[in-house]
Symmetry: none
Subunit: 202 residues, 4 copies
Amino acid sequence: MAYRETAKTRARQRANRARILGAGRRLVAEGGFQALTVAAVAERAGVATGTVYRYFDGKSSLAVEVFSEASGREVEVITEALAGPPPVVERLAAAITLWCRRAQAGRTLAFALLAEPAEPAVAEARLRYRARYAATIAGAIQRAVRCGELPEQDVSVAAAGIVGAMAEAVLGPHGDPDPEIITAFCLSALHPWSPRCPPTRS
Amino acid sequence: MAYRETAKTRARQRANRARILGAGRRLVAEGGFQALTVAAVAERAGVATGTVYRYFDGKSSLAVEVFSEASGREVEVITEALAGPPPVVERLAAAITLWCRRAQAGRTLAFALLAEPAEPAVAEARLRYRARYAATIAGAIQRAVRCGELPEQDVSVAAAGIVGAMAEAVLGPHGDPDPEIITAFCLSALHPWSPRCPPTRS
Amino acid sequence: MAYRETAKTRARQRANRARILGAGRRLVAEGGFQALTVAAVAERAGVATGTVYRYFDGKSSLAVEVFSEASGREVEVITEALAGPPPVVERLAAAITLWCRRAQAGRTLAFALLAEPAEPAVAEARLRYRARYAATIAGAIQRAVRCGELPEQDVSVAAAGIVGAMAEAVLGPHGDPDPEIITAFCLSALHPWSPRCPPTRS
Amino acid sequence: MAYRETAKTRARQRANRARILGAGRRLVAEGGFQALTVAAVAERAGVATGTVYRYFDGKSSLAVEVFSEASGREVEVITEALAGPPPVVERLAAAITLWCRRAQAGRTLAFALLAEPAEPAVAEARLRYRARYAATIAGAIQRAVRCGELPEQDVSVAAAGIVGAMAEAVLGPHGDPDPEIITAFCLSALHPWSPRCPPTRS
DNA sequence: AATGAATGAGAATTCATTCAT
DNA sequence: AATGAATGAATTCTCATTCAT
């Protein structure tokens, strides 16, 4: 019987690829990119080391895909959360809160995605990812400024600051602070302070 | 005389230790913790690899000390900058600007200290360091609140947020933004926003 | 009909075998036996790797056949060149010149056939091939001796010497010497020198 | 007690290097350059694999040194044999005979040195070695020509031809022919034949 | 105390071969 | 008969750690 690229074989291959990628993601989530060795990935995925090389060009390539897949998901989530109807500031608040919750649920993965350098290829991918991340948030801030919801400001610094503040507040050694408080902090940062508008006391 | 000998010996030992630690710091500053190999440290320090093991328990231990020393210096700098006379907010602004400038001047070291994980032991040390960092800043914020310079707020979240915002804004792929703008952003974040104080337009 | 089917099948099989062998030869001609990998052969031949194993016992076997086919062709060419009418010495000269030209045109293949060992099985095949080669040339020398065109001599050493001299003169790092000069050298070697016949000066 | 580069340690290091190189040579002598793996060399030499890397830059480097050492010895032998007093032709004869005897005593090594390609780095070394080889012999032929011992001829083709004839006659599948006969063949080749000097019959 | 040679476990990658389809 | 995905042993190289000197 001739070998045919049946639905079954294709499915198995897709499953294999997914298993390898999944094994990689889990390893990174547990031990950072440091823990991402080809042998470990193969064992986790239940395939031979050689099989990993059938699906990926090499370790670098695999690492980049693991990173991109995980990162892409995060960017998507943020993008969706920002996509709703005005007021934009509320969308931003919701997105920040959501992101904090997700990061708190998977700290190591979040950290690996945000900070761990590991490989030049991954570092490069991280730059691209951060840029997309920041751009997504910057877009929302920009829209809010245009709608008059926020004052004029340096949008790109603000976006990076928001990302950093979120990341640090979540990943820092504080034992899971309330996402709402982090969100409040971030939103405050988007309202440039000037002496003419003194802080309000409650 | 035996006494003199010991004194000399101790001095030389302290010098050796310092040389090894310095070599480690320079290597990390140049290539991150990835570049911190025992052989490279020994060569830089002008000692044999075996000697490194006389002064440090192992690579992990050395890495942690290198990290701690470098981090401690940063905390010191911030602490000093915050130590001056009121208004505290001005001290905070100066400290943030100073920190940004230092980080921009030594990006690799700053990155290694803030983000690169490398080893579990170092990661743990990083947590402790961040805590001290945040505590230092939190102290300043607290004082400012007490002086009435800043409104009441969750001081620890604010401090972490400030650290994160600084780090991301400096280390992100933005090509060295102006420290003054980052400082302005951080200070805004310390003025909790509420609808009663609408953004001021210029 | 079953019979026709078989005929067609056989023809296709022969074609497949030839394609695989041809792909192997081209790979060796391009990169030596080092470049003869099963995967590469299969790809060149347009079949699956598994199919190679239906036609050949394994890589060794394939390598030997590739070698033998290519070598056999060379021996054939020499045999034909030697087959013409006397004087035999002129046939020999023509054969040597022809061989040199062919080798210079396809250096990598010539080198792979003559010198590259790669596998024990191929090395053994090379011995057999050289023996046939030498035997062919030895036959011609023998005939020349019988015809009185050449003096008595150790024919097998002479034949081997001719093959070696040709090969080295062609493959050595000399940048394609003139085949005519190599031929002259080889013919001289076939005229045993003795003090009674002093070298002629031009 | 301070570690000192004593005569003893130096001797041991030299011994180690020699052992590794010797192990390499023996492996090549037994199975060609194909058999030269770092693990096998280390095991034979009785050291750890890492130790091989202390003495050699890598496998390529080791292979080149194994090759060079063995080849250098051969060139030396030939050079010495050619160095004596005239008549130069007798020196050449002695050198050829000697070389053949040595090659017959160590066929696999001789073959590996002369023919096996293995690595680009070794192949390159082989080119250099062959050139030196041919140059040495060409020098002798040249001197013989100047002394009037041999007629004018293309010295470089003659030298290459001699090397090739020697190699093939020795390495060919002939079961150790008499070196004297090979020598006679080579010397004949150095006396260009012309119709005016008909072959002498014994 | 200091040295640095030696160690060997561990990492990435290749490729001949097998086998379910 | 044919396919090509899967296998895993083999290979090169690195580097933290040890130990005789």
